[in-house]
Every structure is written in C-alpha cells, then in structure tokens.
C-alpha cells in the first residue's frame, strides 16, 4: 500500500488545474488491466477522476516526457515524480533538455513498485484484476474465483529491492513526505559477475544478450537516451543497425548504449523494467556506475543540477586503464 492515496493526489492536482498554475498534468493512466499503466497528459479534473491511477504498478518515469511536453506550450505542466524519477529530472536539467520554468514538479512518496512478471510467475499469465489490500495484493485470475493473496514484498521489483533513495532530489511540492538516501546493496549483483572467471562472464552475458530482439524499448524508455536522433538510427554514424542479425550487434548496441549514458545514467532501472526479454540491462549501467565510483570517486548522476559528469571531467592522477581493469579478478 502506497503511503499517499490516489484520492489525495487527485485532489491536489485538481487544485493545481483550478488555480491556473498548470494547464495539464503528466500522470499515470489506467490501461486495459490494472497493472497495465501508461503515461498520460491529463487536462481536466474530469479526466483525472476517470482515468488517473496511483498504486503499485505506477513505475513509469515521466522525466523524459517533459522534453516534448514543455516544448508544446508556454504554460506550465505538472508532473508527478517518484524519488528515483527526480534524479533523471535533474540530469535532464543538467543537460539543458527542458525548461524548468515550464514545469511544476510534484514529488510523490513511493513505497516500491510491484513486478508483474514476478506475480505472473506465481499466478500464471491469466490475471484479470489485482487489488491492493494493505501489505498484500489480491490477484484475481481467470483460473479461479478466489484471489491469490501475495505479499507485496515478495513481488517487489528488483530495482526497488535495491532502492538507492527515498529522498526526492528535486520538487516544487511533496505529497506524502520525503524519505532518506538509502544504503543500498545495488552493486552486489555486479560484484557477483565480476567475481566470475572470464569464461563464466562471457557465457553469462552471451546467454543474456543473445535474447535481445532489438525492440529498442530500453532505449526508448531511458531518460538519458534523449538524442534527437539516435546513432543506431543514423545511417551516417557508422553504427546504424536495427535488427539482431548477429550476436555482435547485440553486444555493440548494448555496450555503446551503456557507454553513451555512462556518467549520466541515474540508475532508475527503467531499461530492465520495460525489457520484454527480461535482460538485466541495468547491470551494464551499474557496472559503469560502480567503476566510476571506484576509479574517480562517488558520483550520483542527477543528485545536483549542473554537476560535471565523470566522462567529461578528469583528474591528472586518474588510474591508468591497465591498472583499472580486472582488479577484482581472482
């Protein structure tokens, strides 16, 4: 159960629209199923009442939508941001991607989001509805009339299990109060892979990346991937490719994508959330974050607007590549 209710959020958003502060709201809209939530721009109180949802499946990070949304009108847009979303929000501001003046940021407290794949693993795919019931989820399926009772903590998404912060890095107002930066264990998985032998690492990633279908969902959702034209879509870049015709291309795509967002990735985890093939893509980005922290000092992208990303910075005493690589090797 989220700390703040849908009711409180809608009331506040209605006030904002009524005051004329903003003329639209970027929020979560219910989809075909309860767990199938999509981003939407709401322009009226009625629309909000009808379609706005808030709950354990509102994982989508709206920061990236602000680029297009703010360009549309001179009026302010209100946006709902969970703590992890605010880092992306700041990072985009650092990169001058939208006009802060045109945004009214409403921070909402987040208790972690559920992973529908984990639920489906327990219940099977035929889910008809899910109701939040205190700390539990009542999952109704087509197989049975009685709901399956699942503890929410058992189906929390991976990124929420290793949540780095419940504190909002940016907001105009907060709903549901603020939390703290957490001491997360988010690099444990990376360390586990690092501890493997070279052959094991190769086999591991071969297994993961070869499943890629090049749907580009990871790129399209990524709040750091906001290029006007992606190098992979650009025939002049020398890297254009569109299909997983060869295993090299999967690697090329994911290495280059991770490299392009290195130092800019806030570790929001959207890439892995949307991947239809369940490839743990965040482990590539986290490897870069872990290395950056180890080589060049702790850095959290999006923590502060205007901070200098590690890859456009240097220190005269930086570690040499030959001393940096594979230090963790046995």
């Amino acid at each position: 159960m989220q700390k703040i209710s849908r009711f409180d959020i809608i009331n506040r958003l209605k006030d904002l629209l009524a005051d004329g502060n903003v003329d639209r709201v970027l929020g979560w809209k219910k989809g075909e199923f309860r767990y199938d939530v999509t981003p939407h721009v709401f322009t009226s109180a009625q629309e909000l009442e009808a379609d706005f949802v808030w709950g354990d499946f509102c994982g989508a990070n709206f920061s990236k939508y602000l680029i297009k949304e703010t360009a549309k009108s001179d009026k302010k847009v209100a946006v709902l941001l969970k703590p992890c979303d605010t880092y992306s929000f700041n990072q985009l501001l650092t990169e001058h991607r939208f006009d802060r003046e045109k945004v009214y940021a409403v921070g909402v407290a987040c208790d972690g989001m559920a992973d529908i794949f984990k639920i489906k693993k327990i219940t099977g795919d035929g889910i008809s509805d899910i109701k939040e019931n205190g700390e539990d989820l009542d999952v109704y399926t087509i197989y049975d009339e009685k709901p399956v009772k699942i503890k929410k903590t058992d189906v929390l998404s991976e990124r929420c299990l290793s949540c780095k912060s419940k504190k909002h890095a940016a907001y105009d107002e907060l709903l549901g109060g603020d939390g703290d930066v957490l001491d997360s264990n988010r690099f444990d998985e990376v360390a586990k892979i690092e501890a493997m032998t070279e052959e094991e690492r190769y086999a591991f990633w071969q297994g993961e990346l070869s499943r890629c279908i090049r749907c580009n969902a990871c790129r399209d959702v990524c709040p750091a991937c906001t290029c006007e034209k992606c190098v992979f879509d650009n025939p002049n870049s020398g890297m254009e490719n569109k299909s997983p015709a060869n295993e090299f291309e999967e690697k090329l795509f994911h290495i280059i994508r991770a490299f392009h967002v290195a130092g800019r990735c806030t570790d929001c985890g959207e890439c892995s959330r949307v991947c239809p093939q369940r490839i743990p893509l965040h482990l590539l980005n986290r490897k870069f974050i872990k290395d950056i922290n180890a080589f060049y000092g702790e850095y959290q992208a999006g923590e502060v607007v205007g901070s200098r990303a590690p890859l456009v910075d240097f220190d005269k005493e930086d570690v040499e590549p030959k001393n940096a690589v594979g230090k963790e090797d046995k």
């Binding site: 020398g238 090299f248 280059i256 040499e320």
Partner: protein
C-alpha cells in the same frame, strides 16, 4: 612440414603528435616490429571513439591499441586525460562481458620514444598471439 602460423591482426590508433611520431622514429631507427600492426592516424587519442574499437573487433581485429602522448604532455593539453577515463571504463566493461582484457590496451608513447614504440608493439603482438584469434567479439558476417 607445413606450419600454419597464426598471425594476429592488430589495429593501433596513434595520435599525430606523439605516438605516430614515435612510430616514425622507430622507422627512422629501423627498429623492427611485426607487420601485423597497422596504424591509423588520429589527431589525438581522444578522437578514438569506443565504437571504433568495437568496429575493429567486429571486422576481425585480434587486438586494439590506443596510443597517445604521456598524460600531461598532450598536444591539446587535456585530450589524453579523457582518453584515459573513457578507455578505463570501456576496457573494464569489455572485461565484464568476458572479453579478454589483454586484447585492448592504452599506451603512452612520446615522439621521442621510438624504441618504446617498437618494444611495445613486439610485446603486444606476442601477447595477442598467445591469446589467439578473437572469437568473443567477432561478427560472423564479416568473415573472410
């Protein structure tokens, strides 16, 4: 008896001001190193995009070297400092993906270090020869 001797293909990106000049000096002094090394001239090591490194592997290279001025001596003052960061992270990522870390390397070679250039190439060719053919980052469509 016919010995099918494996000869690696090595691409060396050399910055125009230091390492390329170092390679020229190695030539001037007739310091031998294997013909397996092919040099591509770039203005500065910081011009080397990680995509070039991957592309070389894609097309069948067995080892890639990025050579620049010694840190602090960059012709453009700071270029090689960025190279150092970019390549440290790229190499670490390649190793994380299980690609042999010895295949890719950054070397700082000044215009005066012809001997170092030749020695580095000899040593690198040996290292890569010992590793054998690059199999983990190849593109089968580019096979000869």
């Amino acid at each position: 008896m016919q010995v099918n001797e494996y000869k690696p293909l090595i691409v060396a990106f050399c910055c125009n001001w230091c390492s390329y000049a170092g390679a020229d000096l190695a030539g001037n002094n007739r310091l031998n190193y294997p013909a397996d090394v092919k040099i591509i001239r770039v203005p500065c090591s910081c011009r080397v995009n990680p995509a070039f490194v991957l592309r070389a592997y894609q097309r069948g290279a067995d080892g890639v070297l990025i050579c620049g001025c010694h840190p602090g001596d960059c012709h453009y003052t700071t270029g090689n400092y960025y190279t150092r960061r970019r390549m440290a992270l790229l190499f670490s990522m390649l190793s994380y993906l299980g690609i042999e870390k010895e295949r890719t390397r950054v070397e700082w070679i000044s215009a005066a270090e012809g001997a170092k250039f030749a020695a580095t190439m000899n040593e690198f060719v040996k290292t890569v020869t010992d590793l054998g053919k690059n199999r983990r980052l190849e593109d089968l469509r580019c096979k000869k």
